[in-house]
């Protein structure tokens, strides 16, 4: 009986310890992921646009909340805590409607959401210190967050762009 109680206590202790180091708990010594879609992101201002060919084959808009846009426009680096950069992707599809008017195959537009529809970088220099001050988030077309293993691949790709505070997209006026 005492053995079972001890085991129970040990499990509880382990659970508490695990909770303490879980992503999102605020430890600065590990990558922490973002699991909630930031409110109102679809109303944010435009940073720029891009097309990723290859396996992604999407066309995308990069938006920023007010803090991010201000930093971009003022050319202030690093981005301040609270800045969030959003990336919305759509399938890259030809527009038959537009091509008919143009009289040639020239128009590519945004189609349905692809599997990985939304990405965010959330700046919190303390909370996300282990990943350059940014928390990374990715959501599928149903709004389901990406698993931590997937998000763990974000920062290594962004590291080469440390000189621009890890943000690839440049603001285009």
């Amino acid at each position: 009986m005492r053995r079972i109680a001890s085991l129970g206590a040990a499990v509880a202790l382990m659970a508490a310890a695990a909770a303490f180091v879980l992503p999102g708990s605020g430890h600065a010594d590990q990558a922490v992921s973002v699991t909630k879609i930031p409110d109102g992101y679809r109303d944010w201002k435009l940073v720029s646009v891009a097309h990723e060919a290859g396996p992604l084959n999407d066309i995308r808009a990069i938006l920023g909340n007010d803090a991010a846009i201000k930093a971009y426009r003022d050319k202030t680096l690093p981005f301040p805590d609270g800045a969030i950069v959003a990336r919305i992707a759509w399938k890259y599809v030809p527009s038959e409607e537009n091509n008919k008017v143009f009289g040639r195959e020239q128009s590519w537009v945004a189609g349905d959401p692809p599997e990985w529809y939304l990405q965010f970088m959330v700046k919190d220099s303390k909370k996300y210190a282990a990943t350059g001050g940014w928390g990374y988030a990715q959501f599928d077309k149903d709004g389901k967050p990406a698993p931590d293993a997937k998000l763990a691949t974000c920062y290594p790709c962004h590291e080469p762009i440390q000189s621009r505070d890890f943000v690839f997209t440049r603001y285009t006026p």
Copy 2:
């Protein structure tokens, strides 16, 4: 002296008459162009994005002022008076920086402004009745408006899309 006074009166009358039929005066029986860049357009919300290949070879964002975005989101047609749709184009350029990280040629981004940088459609069903209720505007990279002859080519291209109130771009959530 009386002759000079009469001439002066005649000139003044002609000037008044000319002002009355100049573009922008509100006559519904002629195409009227927009010659001023709408204030604050770069802060407007995103409608969608597109890539035009061929001679244009640009990547573009379509933005809307609040009235346009509300109509898009509510699926209200025709667009209300006051709605403005903006199109910003940038040169379609490969990103060597991004490609280096991806390890392949896949990333196309927004470069410098092309010759015809900005376009707008301004809804005023009375003022622009002759062109489907929309005034068309185009500005080069230095902010100079397009000549009327160029703007006269806008509406004929938009006519086929009358079922969506002459606006090609669909809103992508």
